[in-house]
Symmetry: C2
Subunit: 135 residues, 2 copies
Amino acid sequence: MDSAASPLDPNQILAKNGIRPTKIRKAIARLLFDGHDKHVTVENVIDMARNSEIKTSVASVYNTLNQFAAAGLLRRVVVEQGRTFFDTNLSDHHHFYFEDEQRLEDIPDGTIKLQSIPKLPYGRRIKSIGVTIRV
Amino acid sequence: MDSAASPLDPNQILAKNGIRPTKIRKAIARLLFDGHDKHVTVENVIDMARNSEIKTSVASVYNTLNQFAAAGLLRRVVVEQGRTFFDTNLSDHHHFYFEDEQRLEDIPDGTIKLQSIPKLPYGRRIKSIGVTIRV
DNA sequence: ATAGCTGCAAATGCTTTGCAAGGCC
DNA sequence: GGCCTTGCAAAGCATTTGCAGCTAT
């Protein structure tokens, strides 16, 4: 369900989420939302940009990814200190983490499930649930 | 099973794990292994030490906690970038994370369970499974 | 013209490292 | 005495921030 990838229109994605479609943002959106699920770091995006002849800066990549995350276009995933991943897969899912490669991979939907949810602390509601299987 | 807390002997703990029982290490062990489960940051330990009239330094706290973690006396837990927790509870368990307080709390044993484990990537074995429920 | 974006460089926050001095067997 | 530990300060990373110049409307 991922092999038949169809890039989405960056302008539409940004417009739909109230983000002004500037040159850099469209360029990064094009890199990320190509129809394939990805887990990227800031460094990855900088490299991808370089390989695509996109001229930008570290600060702008941070700005853009943070903004995308805030708008719900990306999900932040932290599995190790000092390294933030941004996940383009927004569906409810979990991850394998390959420690030796420092790489994330989606756990296929439906192959992992919580049998029971504990009673929540008083006055709290679930904001998210994250399962990471280190392999 | 946590309310009836009995501090363990720091010397024994360290000896059993092949760590030389120096003054600082024993002091920090005494702070951490008092029989109550804890999730501490380096900063926490520095504060605890200060309140206990223990003189030490940031570097030594890092050294000590890292060493304890390497020896399996503590478990590293990362839920947010830029802040590492050390968990004194070594049993198989999971966490609530209170985002507003940046605080971890154990999920009571048996109240959460994985119904199914996905097939692992080829040639891999599970090193650990972590479930974090953000509340 | 003007509001917002970009990108450099400086700053921040956590963590690690280098190294001299000190402590312990 | 000799090896390990301690702790200060400096270095190292990832990330954020300040701000001047630029861009697009």
